[in-house]
């Protein structure tokens, strides 16, 4: 059998090869860099790479560590000391991170090498990566199409074999949706599972950092490193340490999977619907019992999300004022003018739109009608999930109602773009965990586009979620397919 190219290895396969001494960490990094140099000009996933620094780290890598010598690419919203961290915004041009995010500290302690900054929608606001102020990222399966978002770079580089794995962040689906559209595995951990310290905040009650990988096993191995209580994030929870790989390899006998009837509706791309229903049957054949469940408040989730997320964003983004870091407007008249002009010149259109919406829903006179009411409906959405999980081990549904669309198709219709998130945002509102795994392809205009299966688990039940995702993945060929680049 022909040996697979080094860059196409999964993280686990790379580690085995490193430990067996088949090649060194430095050789793996150089081979990855060669692949990036040949393919990334088409894909546009990377914003920058510090090859010299990574090579120094690779040269002294201890491959016996849990992620020893493995390069991991990082969404440009997570701080890595000494590297740019711009959130793909003009307002952070020239900014150099002065500290490592907690997840980066944990990656380093496990021997991994943070390598490369990845494109994204500005401040993680978007579902297509078209809101980046820096560059265009393409879907590796069809270069005229979007990779999803907001972590579009994180998904595209894993799908293009220009990263063994990457980190992204998920506020309303920003890990799961691009993973689905690019055909890789994307995990949003339960809220509180992974420290947010060092993640540029978008909506603090919804944001979670999580991995993009080629396989479910890799996802579990990365979560082993990323998770855990962090004194620097008061919302990270102190739960007993666990090995998220421990249930991998078991079948689905005795498990119940719920199909939320509100997630199998009119308006879903028929090819997506067919692929997901075939995946449900596959899980049944692996021993799972399939039952119908209802999440009755689903139709309100998008409205709740766009009130809560923009409200929190308007407060979080108040820190960008041109004083301590980031862009400062020139020739200002006074301090007020400095704030206004620095922000107006630095933020892109979608960010401004959301700040204004968030400011409005929090403003005196409208707070109760919008923000407080949205928080109450959020409680009802949480209860929907709690009730559904009383009878099932996980929920099974599409990740996105559609496959990757063409660049520019949605740019003028924010509401339509927001509605594409209908199947992912409820998990952020409820705090539970979710994963997207490849479940087939749709043929559209001569392109072969990946479809994602979403599994949603109870809060802090990632081990079970990964078991189910792994059993499905291993019984299907989808995760082995790669785009032609």
């Amino acid at each position: 059998m022909e040996r697979p190219a080094l860059h196409s290895l999964s993280l686990s396969a790379l580690q085995s090869a490193l430990r067996a001494g088949e090649f060194t960490a430095l050789e793996a990094l150089d081979s990855l860099e060669a692949r990036i140099a040949s393919v990334d000009p088409q894909v546009g996933g990377y914003l920058s790479r510090n090859l010299e620094k990574a090579r120094a780290e690779a040269a002294s890598a201890d491959v016996s560590l849990p992620l020893g010598g493995v390069p991991i690419a990082i969404k440009d919203v997570i701080n890595v000391r000494g590297e740019p961290c711009t959130a793909a915004s003009q307002i952070l041009q020239g900014y150099t991170a002065t500290y490592d995010a907690s997840v980066i500290r944990k990656l380093r302690a496990a021997g991994a090498i943070p390598f490369g900054r990845l494109n994204m929608d500005e401040f993680a606001m978007g579902s297509s990566t078209e809101n980046s102020s820096l560059q265009t990222t393409s879907n590796p399966w069809a270069l005229e199409r979007i990779p999803g978002g907001s972590s579009g770079g994180s998904a595209a580089v894993v799908a293009a074999d220009t990263a063994f794995a990457s980190l992204g962040s998920d506020t309303g689906g920003s890990i799961r949706q691009p993973a689905a559209l690019c055909g890789c595995v994307g995990l949003k951990p339960s809220y509180g599972r992974v420290s947010r310290f060092g993640l540029i905040a978008f909506a603090s009650s919804l944001d979670q950092i999580g991995p993009f990988t080629k396989t479910v096993e890799d996802s579990a191995r990365l979560l082993n490193v990323l998770s855990g209580k962090d004194p620097q994030d008061s919302t990270s929870l102190d739960l007993p340490a666990e090995d998220y790989t421990r249930l991998l390899g078991r079948d689905l006998k005795g498990l119940k999977l719920g199909m939320p009837k509100e997630y199998f509706i009119e308006g879903i791309d028929p090819q997506v619907d067919a692929a997901v229903r075939a995946a449900v049957r596959q899980c049944e054949s692996l021993g799972a019992e399939i039952v119908q469940v209802s999440l009755p408040h689903t139709e309100y989730a998008v409205a709740v999300y766009y009130i809560i997320a923009t409200a929190e964003a308007s407060a979080n983004l108040a820190r960008f004022d041109g004083v301590r870091y980031g862009r400062r407007a020139a020739d200002v008249k006074n301090l007020q003018d400095l704030y206004v002009r620095s922000r107006s010149e630095g933020f892109g259109e979608e960010v401004k739109r959301r700040i204004i919406l968030g400011t409005y829903v929090l403003s005196s006179g409208y707070y109760d009608a919008y923000y407080l009411r949205a928080q109450k409906v959020r409680t009802l959405i949480r209860r929907d999930f709690e009730r559904a999980f009383e009878g099932v081990d996980a929920l099974i549904c599409p990740t996105s109602p559609e496959v990757a669309f063409k660049r520019g198709e949605r740019s003028n219709d924010p509401l339509k773009m927001y509605l594409a998130d209908i199947f992912t945002i409820a998990a952020n509102l409820a705090g539970n965990c979710g994963i997207s795994v490849p479940c087939g392809f749709a043929q559209v205009d001569g392109a072969r586009l990946p479809v994602g299966l979403q599994l949603l688990g109870k809060s802090f039940d990632e081990a079970r979620l990964l078991q189910i995702a792994h059993a499905y993945e291993q019984s299907t060929p989808w995760h082995k397919e790669r785009p032609t680049l």
């Binding site: 004083v323 401004k352 949480r382 927001y418």
Partner: protein
């Protein structure tokens, strides 16, 4: 409710200045978004507690003790303007 959205005034509250084109575009787009979220009025929320976040934690305290963190130099390393170990800003009082 949505008819009352005044984009220009709300932008001012958020310390943003919009062009004419942005103002009129946002007025249309955000009015659409606000009329969409009107559907939340259908929901009976009587007696329902609001959810601010989904963590089980309430107050989290740490000992109020000094610890190593940024030096002044590091804290200033991204400052657009600095002098004498301080951030320089424009005049506050005319």
């Amino acid at each position: 409710m949505s008819a009352e959205l005044d984009v220009r005034n709300t932008a001012k509250l958020a310390r943003l200045e919009l062009s004419e084109a942005e103002t009129s575009r946002f007025q249309t787009q955000l009015s659409q978004v606000l009329s969409y979220v009107e559907k939340l009025k259908e929901v009976d929320v009587t007696g329902i507690e609001p959810t601010a976040h989904t963590s089980e934690v309430q107050n989290v305290f740490r000992a109020d003790e000094p610890r190593d963190w940024f030096s002044a130099q590091e804290a200033l390393s991204n400052a657009p303007r600095q002098a004498n170990g301080l951030f320089v800003v424009s005049k506050v009082i005319e």
